[in-house]
Amino acid sequence: MLEIKNLSVSIDGHSILDNLNLSVKPGEVHAIMGPNGSGKSTLASVIAGRDEYDVNGGKIEYQGEDLLDLDPHERAHKGVFLAFQYPVEIPGVSMTNFMKAAINEKRKALGQDPVVAKDFLKMIKEKMALVKMDPKLMSRSLNEGFSGGEKKRNEILQMAMLEPKLAIMDETDSGLDIDALRIVANGVNSLRTSENAFVVITHYQRLLDYIVPDYVHILYNGQIVKSGDKSLALELDDKGYEWVKEEVNA
């Protein structure tokens, strides 16, 4: 589904990702871990199409298509979803209107008719229950005045509404207490199918107790330096990143 080959990325001349390779198949959950500044969020942003990064080499293939050729909204139409580390506040734009616009744009791109209002409301209510979000937030401005936990749950809600094929979660666990973490993880788990894939970017092993990954990768200095199964995350939790750094630098 996603094939990243020799990807090199820089910003303002500073190299961030250096010959990175990653392969994700449908139904898989990949966890990407790494110390601060290793390039985790850059990877997420480049997949989603943020244009402040310069791709200097390599390619990203998604469902056999060159992803780098597409505008961010086109990637979204094709099922790429990014759960933001810092979701943006948009004053005056209600959750309902925003979600409706997003769903209808996707449907338009797929040659489908706009969603029927009744169906939409039913769907959003269901999905809100899934992430235990207060229905009152629906009519509030997008993310405005939301608590940290509400913002993150809102990201999962949007993910549930848009039913992506490839979901990238950029440190969704940061700033969440244990209850919120469980809610978010349950949301994700209930969306897992054999058709879609998840890339979970995180700092801590904690989240992976709830969202169990098939693969764990360690990103360091812009490269994946170690891959393994979920036991790698436990080992990392035990030994810390210093262990990886020493091994790499040795």
């Binding site: 199409g49 979803f81 933001f84 925003f98 997003a102 769903i103 744009e105």
Partner: protein, 481 residues
């Protein structure tokens, strides 16, 4: 992807949709302004002698005044002798029913999207249609009369209700108030008159559509709304004009009087022709609008969406004289291409415990200049008065300007005044977030701008709010995505 140059290049493609001309036989006054012009207008309108005297006095006042130059707008000097001050249809000016209306006019309504066919209307909006210098049609007059509400052209009111006109005309905006108010007082041609008697809640929205049609003509309408004790009225105003290369002058005066516990809600969607993408043509919109909250607990609320005109100079104001009276001003002003807008409000707090609220959203694109100018005055008598102002500016492209000139004058220690203003552009992170959810740049910007203006739109009556949103999208078409 968000290439600013590309955006600006596209900014010039937004098209004005009301630029047609109605082919109708008209009678005009000779070009130029003199006592004779005023006598001509007054005679055309079969006005009583006192009205002519009032006009002539205003004309003398105007002659002694000089054109203001302190506003943050620039335009070539207006030759007041090169303007036609009256243009009316040759045929019967005021129709009694739709059947009598010239089919060409009916087509005009249709094109403008004005609901004149009463039976087809669901919402129940009464319309006064003013083309150039004459009111041509007022709907629902009879039905309104049953409630005691008077809704007619001001020309008719001068003849039918002289005592009301003599009492109130010029009481809120005195003739010598400013240069354009004086000019209007001398030559005003038509406009609407509304009178809501004591205790009556006007059963439907009242609205006037102003249309400049004739060439080289100035439009000088005059509107007067009186709300007696415990009454309520919501009034809407819409304006359009044909596309022409010459600038045309529009200098209106609007006066509102709210007595004890009365409420007047005045909404405007101003879409005069803004000139073309090179800045040629367009309307000079120099307007004086003022409301007097004369009674206790009275309320006047101005809501405006300004997208048109080459130059706008307009400060709908409230004089909060009655204790506990409330003044509100909600404004969205959009400028694109070479448009210039200098608009805002004045809140004059005189009575005790008076309150006012100002929400102004300016959007500048292209090579336009958009200024907010506002005055909040707390007089010594205004004990415990309160004002809150929020003035935001949004810039689209780097060739435009946004300016904020608030004046706060406080002479009372118990009065509380808060003013906030911000200037920003649409953030890249906001756009990217929307993009990631599948919205293209254009859709994202539309959504964000409508969100930005939401606080103003929600004060518009439903039908107008939808119209305003569409208008905003058209005005900024191409400039943003």
């Amino acid at each position: 992807m968000h290439d600013d140059d590309k955006l600006i290049e596209k900014a010039t493609t937004g098209e004005y949709r009301y630029g047609f001309v109605t082919d109708i036989e008209q009678e005009t006054a000779p070009k130029g302004l003199s006592e004779d012009t005023i006598r001509f207008i007054s005679a055309k309108k079969e006005e009583p002698e006192w009205m002519l005297e009032w006009r002539l006095k205003a004309f003398k006042t105007w002659q002694q005044m000089t054109e203001p130059d302190w506003v943050n707008v620039h335009y070539p000097k207006i030759d007041f002798q090169d303007i036609i001050y009256y243009a009316g249809a040759k045929k019967k000016p005021q129709y009694e029913s739709l059947d009598e209306v010239d089919p060409e006019l009916l087509r005009t309504y249709e094109k403008l999207g004005i609901p004149v066919e009463e039976q087809k209307m669901l919402a129940g909006v009464a319309v006064d249609f003013v083309m150039d210098s004459e009111s041509v049609l007022t709907t629902f007059k009879k039905q309104l009369k049953e409630f005691g509400v008077i809704f007619c052209s001001i020309s008719e009111a001068i003849k039918e209700y002289p005592e009301l006109i003599q009492k109130h005309l010029g009481s809120v905006v005195p003739t010598r108030d400013n240069y354009y108010a004086a000019l209007n007082s001398a030559v005003f041609s038509d406009g609407s008159f509304v009178y809501v008697p004591k205790g009556v809640r006007c059963p439907m929205e009242l609205s006037t559509y102003f249309r400049i049609n004739a060439e080289n003509t100035g439009q000088f309408e005059r509107t007067l709304i009186i709300a007696e004790d415990d009454s309520y009225v919501s009034y809407l105003e819409g304006c359009t004009a044909p596309m022409r290369d010459e600038n045309q002058l529009h200098a209106a005066v609007v006066e509102l009087v709210a007595q004890d516990r009365a409420e007047i809600k005045y909404s405007t969607v101003q879409n005069w022709y803004p000139g073309n993408s090179e800045g040629k043509g367009g309307i000079y919109n120099f307007v004086t609008k003022r409301g007097l909250c004369n009674g206790v607990e009275s309320k006047i609320s101005w809501t405006q969406v300004e997208t048109g005109s080459a130059i706008t100079w307009k400060y709908p104001s409230c004089i909060l004289k009655g204790d506990r009276s409330i003044g509100e001003f909600y404004s969205v002003a959009v400028t694109n291409n070479f448009q210039q807008a200098d608009t805002g409000t004045k809140m004059i707090h005189i009575g005790k415990n008076t309150k006012s609220r100002i929400v102004s959203k300016g959007i500048s694109a292209g090579k336009s200049q958009n200024s907010y100018r506002g005055l909040v005055q707390m007089h010594k008598t205004a004990k415990n008065a309160y004002n809150f102002s929020q003035c935001d500016s949004l810039l689209i492209g780097d060739k435009c300007g946004a300016h904020t000139f608030p004046y706060l004058e406080v002479k009372n220690s118990s009065a509380q005044v808060e003013h906030e203003a911000t200037t920003s552009k649409i953030g890249e992170d906001m756009l990217f977030y929307c993009n990631q959810r599948g919205l293209s740049d254009e859709e994202a910007v539309n959504l964000i701008i409508n969100g930005y203006c939401k606080e103003v739109f929600r004060h518009l009556p439903m039908e107008f709010a939808v119209e305003a949103q569409n208008l905003l999208a058209i005005s900024l078409e191409g400039s943003v995505g």
